[in-house]
Symmetry: C2
Subunit: 461 residues, 2 copies
């Protein structure tokens, strides 16, 4: 179920992709389209385009393909007639769930529940997962402030016209460089690129700096510890300041590794201290694992690397988990129905596939594979940055969730395009990083294939 | 592909549903769960539950099932191997679309494009459709204000910290009783029930009254025209007022029939005048057809009943269209990539089913069927409200998109539960309405089946 290497027929995008881009351009903005794909012919780690080019994929649809393309276990699922009906009849899960829903949740999402969390709410994408997690935190916070769960008559009437006290001046503390989605609530906590935010109204919510660490982390332990201390202090200051401003922080949201913002890491101690600050100030602690979750760091959740029994109050997910949603502690469950609600509340056909993805991860020991491949990848990147110090720096990563910085944005773009023409799909993040986001079936063998091609590209630069 | 009538074995929820509700209650808030379903055994207009009860479904998963359950045309789709790969490999549509994407869009969404709109952006649900439609309006409005498309350095830096001028004080005008979704941006324009909004921070945006009409509309033409004039005047006042407040209205969002808010109708003249007000004040006009779109009013889009060549600048959809998204005029397309963007940008597997849904609508003349069934349904409701004036009033509707008011909320709940035990699934909306939202395959025969059972329920009340 995998090809034995890239095979290129044309430059990418090839003539067929260019023609299709023109066609689609009549219907949509196509400025972000890389090329058009033949998903039928794509297999495992290889993405095939409409011009017949076969590329090793280290970007996997913005990190959203867990087992590579057309995994036989997933194709096989559709042979069962019960599964056809799951795909054809999308229910309103919140009111009329299928009979196997509790069992499927146990088998899939709850079998990988983060420490301390026994409850999970499915959603359909990263944005609605985070939006609803924020709502759960606001509801929890207001109930705590009131001392009971019953909104006053004034709460109920004022909220209908978007005014306080019913729509309270509460806030979510987020971090500079963070990315949590693009709907208005999520976007107020997203601070990765201006083009995502400009011209869209927002909320006056606090933002703390995320540590800017020096890599490799071991070599700069002292400087990095100082930088993390500075950011923690600032985060706590913001919480106090916003409380005084009358916009208390109901929750803190953070990614275990800032992904879109440039693959920024922080130490387990940083997250432990932040979690304590949240506890001290009565804020909920929301770990956004939309991009880091699902095994790519070598553990199923990136926060497991922190080694904490109580890593957070809410953990949201999407992408590699195929369904969106969030886990939460008991206290964070909304006290009434219809507060956290929408028509579909996820999609059981995605749960179906997730159950099988988790089976494959277990039976094929994919987390161990990821750890092994990740080590090979990171070591290879270290070597390359030693070899090309004028081009590459700051190689970093956990599992195969790796990144490296390029000297400038133009060089990065040129490297990504050249690699593509040699049969490797890569993606950027931050101002000048390349991020590696292969599927969980990316083996050491693929790492070496990639490193050889990448080396060729760099040698020609 | 349909059963010949309801068949009840237990009260609903039956013992199996009750047991499953208990199980799911360990994982989620189950306050909104009606009963658990057997989607495998459900067919056409009949929803079968896990206790073997077979019910005529006039609610269809909150109006989201276009052709009833397990329509053979949709099941058949999955026999084709290309389609398996579409379902298994969900792409990041904005960057790596499948080769057949432009063609599929032409065949499906663009074949039913609203008048004046040649562009469509797919999304995944009603909320992200509306959120992104709002963003498109904000971007369009700011470009218009600036006189060019290039945000200033100050715009770009201030937006990163959620402040103006980069995050401008723009607003969306919405209507009391409207429902546009539950993510923070959408929720700021939703005003149907307090429980949807309370405890969640919001934006200070203008809200106009939606006409409260007397039914049947023909009988109260003069009063209704006055009421509509009052609401139009108020809407225009709000636009002026919010401009003076420094929060100009970038767009107006409205449903052709307010659904969640209680099935509130207004005349074509009302919408025409409102559209003119939008034009006069330079606001974009966004018609939210998430619930009304897809044929249930007897036309594919409810706004077609207005008889306008230029019904709006943006039309959003989801539910019966299986995929979410929004159509828009050329001017409303964001000028740069990644402004309207997310990981998945919809789901081609949903487009696949939509193409087939549209084929069936055409070949089986379902819009005509809906018009016929709708007439029979509304006439039946008129008769029943004459027969039970103490219980029922204000029967109203377009196509099968009908509703009737019940004397009070408690009686409504009791009627819905009694009907369910006799094999009819209904839903409520507003304070005390019952809404009818059958699939497009709901025929006159089913109308009479329903009316007989409904009559029995009312007679026993
Ligand atoms: S907001 Fe998540 S699917 Fe629409």
């Amino acid at each position: 179920c995998d090809y034995d290497g890239p095979a290129m027929k044309t430059q990418v995008p090839g003539p067929r992709s260019q023609e299709l881009t023109k066609q689609l351009g009549e219907i949509q903005n196509v400025g972000a389209v890389n090329f058009f794909c033949n998903y039928n012919e794509s297999r495992g780690n290889y993405l095939v385009d409409v011009d017949g080019n076969r590329m090793l994929d280290l970007y996997t649809q913005i990190s959203s393909i867990p087992l590579g393309y057309n995994h036989p276990a997933l194709i096989k699922l559709m042979a069962h007639p019960d599964n056809l009906s799951t795909i054809v009849n999308r229910p309103a899960l919140g009111i009329l769930p299928p009979g196997n829903f509790p069992e499927k949740l146990m088998e899939s999402l709850l079998s990988v529940a983060p420490s301390g969390m026994t409850r999970v709410q499915t959603m359909a994408c990263g944005s609605c997962s985070n939006e609803n997690a924020y709502k759960a935190m606001f509801i929890w916070y207001r109930n705590k402030e009131r001392g009971h769960n019953t909104p006053s008559a004034e709460d109920l009437s004022s909220c209908m016209v978007n005014q306080g006290p019913g729509c309270p001046d509460l806030s979510i503390l987020s971090f500079m460089g963070g990315f949590h989605g693009r709907t208005l609530g999520c976007l107020a906590t997203t601070h990765s690129k201006a083009i995502h935010k400009v011209d869209v109204p927002s909320l006056d919510w606090p933002i703390a700096p995320f540590p800017k660490l020096k890599y490799p982390l071991e070599e700069f332990a002292r400087e990095n510890a100082q930088e993390e201390a500075r950011c923690l202090e600032e985060a706590e200051d913001q919480i106090v300041k916003w409380r005084h401003k009358g916009k208390p922080v109901a929750g803190i949201v953070i990614e275990p590794i800032q992904a879109e913002g440039g693959d920024n890491h922080a130490s387990p101690e940083f997250f432990k201290s932040l979690r304590n600050i949240a506890r001290k100030h009565g804020c909920a602690f929301h770990v956004d694992e939309v991009q880091t979750g699902g095994g790519c760091t070598g553990k199923f959740w990136a926060h497991e690397h922190w080694g904490m029994d109580d890593p957070g109050d809410i953990v949201s997910f999407s992408k590699k988990l195929l369904t969106g949603g969030f886990y939460h502690k008991n206290e964070l469950q909304a006290d009434q129905p219809y507060r956290i609600f929408n028509t579909w509340m996820g999609d059981p056909s995605k749960n179906l596939f997730l159950t099988e993805v988790l089976n494959v991860i277990r039976t094929e020991n994919l987390l161990e594979e990821v750890t092994r491949s990740g080590k090979a990848l990171l070591n290879g990147l270290y070597e390359l940055q030693t070899q090309y110090p004028g081009i590459l720096s700051r190689a970093r990563g956990q599992g195969t969730f790796c990144a490296i910085d390029v000297c400038d944005d133009a060089t990065r773009t040129s490297i990504i395009l050249k690699a593509r023409n040699k049969g490797v799909v890569l993606g950027g993040c931050g101002d000048r990083s390349i991020r590696f986001r292969p599927a969980l079936v990316f083996k050491e063998y693929h790492v070496h294939l990639f490193l050889n091609i990448f080396n060729d590209v760099l040698a020609q630069h």
